[in-house]
């Protein structure tokens, strides 16, 4: 990798200030950043190490009952936090369905949210990629694209966001706290990510120097705690990125759905909140027929971006699976294979 300056930030303010200079990036767990630097895809001039900033590693309950998770909380610590497990179990399940135990020990909340796509043409310096440099073209478009996007893509870029964690966050309407050169602001997960446009690569709403300081899980999300699941389809039982995934959270009473939250992963350049499907479900009977309708609604606008039409059908099916699993109830104990399709009971199949 290219040589770079290394600077350890002592506070949020110094971090933001240092990172406001072009060419600077934050170093958190390093598991995505170093990977990309080794591939030569990212070549920052300066790394701002945010691992020693006091206070970013706390998990605390806010006055309004929301859960505030510091940006430097490691994925594994978050996943085993009792409050998270009790109140937002699908988030814990999604965290544990991602990467490996070693990576989760290093990976942080902020880093996970800000990780970049695994599109292999993005990683390959010999291929054309608009995300790496706008104007090069997109070699994935006519290449090996079986795992690429089916929603929200344009010919500029058909990559998907790889995070599992983000999927239930999108469903919950979680927010991030950002401190930047212009002060503090809050963004919903949905607003954090930007889809590709014509001639515009996908990305995030963060600008140079913007530091995510915390993630806020809204207190309203707790009402789904009894029926919340994350389901991830993959071609290896563990330690594999999602082909498609879904988070489903339900409130059911008298056989009817009172409230539903849904999001899909692995289908677009951002975690895909399925609001139309939620609308279909609200007030509907808690039945397979409703779930099917919801799945059709969620994928109504989907289109293959290449050799990946199967992902549309699989996305519907994973959504139905997540819904049925959620309806069956959050398991009393985290399944041994979190998020695995094998961790769904008979009633969910």
């Amino acid at each position: 990798m290219k040589t770079f300056d290394y600077q350890r930030a002592e506070s949020v303010e110094t971090a933001v200030k240092a990172a406001s200079e072009p060419g600077s990036v934050f170093y958190a767990g390093g598991t995505n950043l170093l990977d990309l630097m080794k591939a030569g895809v990212r070549q920052p001039d300066r790394l701002i190490d945010i691992t020693r900033i006091e206070g970013l590693d706390r998990i605390e309950t806010g006055k309004d009952g929301s859960l505030r998770i510091g940006a430097m909380v490691r994925n594994s610590d978050m996943a085993r936090h009792p409050t998270l497990l009790a109140e937002y179990p699908a988030v814990a399940e999604a965290l544990l369905a991602g990467a490996s135990a070693q990576l989760r020990n290093a990976a942080t909340v902020g880093g996970n949210l800000m990780q970049q796509t695994r599109c292999s043409y993005f990683y390959d310096r010999h291929s054309a990629c608009n995300l790496r440099e706008m104007g090069q073209g997109c070699d994935a478009l006519d290449g090996e694209n079986g795992k690429h996007a089916v929603l929200g893509w344009t010919k500029t870029c058909i990559a998907v966001h790889p995070s599992d964690f983000c999927v239930p966050l999108a469903a919950l309407g979680a927010e991030v706290e950002v401190t930047g050169p212009d002060g503090h602001r809050r963004l919903t997960i949905d607003d954090l990510y930007t889809l590709p446009g014509e001639g515009q690569a996908p990305g995030t709403a963060l600008r140079d120097g913007d530091l995510i300081t915390a993630l806020i899980l809204p207190s309203g999300g707790k009402r789904f705690a009894a029926r919340a699941r994350y389901m991830k389809l993959r071609d290896r039982t563990s330690y594999a990125f999602a082909i498609v995934s879904a988070a489903a959270m339900l409130q059911i009473g008298d056989g009817r759905i009172k409230d539903a939250r849904l999001a899909l992963g692995g289908v677009a350049a951002k975690p895909w909140r399925a609001t139309k499907a939620e609308a279909v479900l609200n007030g509907a009977e808690a039945s397979e027929a409703s779930y099917r309708k919801a799945a059709d609604a969620a994928l109504a606008d989907a289109a293959p971006s290449g050799d990946n039409a199967h992902k549309i059908e699989l996305a519907k099916r994973i959504l139905i699976r997540a819904l049925k699993s959620a309806a069956a109830g959050t398991p009393p104990k985290m399944p041994a294979l979190p998020g695995s399709v094998f961790a769904a009971g008979k009633e969910a199949r």
Binding site: R8, G30, S76, A336
Partner: protein, 162 residues
């Protein structure tokens, strides 16, 4: 301008001068300190061969910048045994034939040590399988690895270590 860092590795302090901030913990261990027990299988977080404990937690040393770890307490496979006495996980790997070529083994062993310490209470076989899935073994020594980890957690609770 050299960067100075100090790391405590297997109980011993190491002061290092790096020409720049690039070296990963893995390359520092292997190429600069000479602790070559920790292996490089992919250099990209995809295999687990480089697993070490940093402040007691298992991580992939190939994706950690050494400079960022200033002052950290690192344990590698070389630091696991107590003199001539093997750590229970090491002993269990030998007895259950938890390896063949041995190349993934330091990573498997460090990962198993981390895995056992992360939990309270015994893990089920399925939990071991999931918990050890961040360590690839191309030889396919998985049957022995699973048995070794199962055996090691028993040994450790018998010795009152867990």
């Amino acid at each position: 301008m050299a960067l100075r860092i100090s790391l405590k590795i297997n109980g011993k302090m190491h002061e290092l001068a790096l020409e720049d901030a690039r070296p990963t913990l893995l390359d520092v261990l292997r190429e600069r300190i000479g602790l070559t027990g920790t292996k490089k299988g992919c250099d990209r977080g995809q295999c687990g061969a480089c697993t070490v404990l940093v402040d007691g937690r298992r991580v992939n040393s190939c994706l950690s910048l050494a400079v960022s770890l200033e002052g950290a307490d690192i344990t590698t496979v070389e630091g696991l045994a107590d003199g001539e006495t093997l750590h229970p996980v090491q002993a269990a790997f030998i007895e259950n034939d938890g390896f063949q070529c041995g190349y993934c083994t330091p990573g498997q062993i460090m990962s198993a040590v981390g895995f056992i310490s992360e939990r309270d209470g015994h893990a089920t076989a399925e939990e071991i399988r999931e918990g050890m899935s961040g360590n690839l073994c191309r030889c396919g020594a998985y049957a022995g690895i699973q048995d070794a980890v199962m055996d090691a957690q028993l040994r450790m609770s018998n010795e009152g270590k867990s």
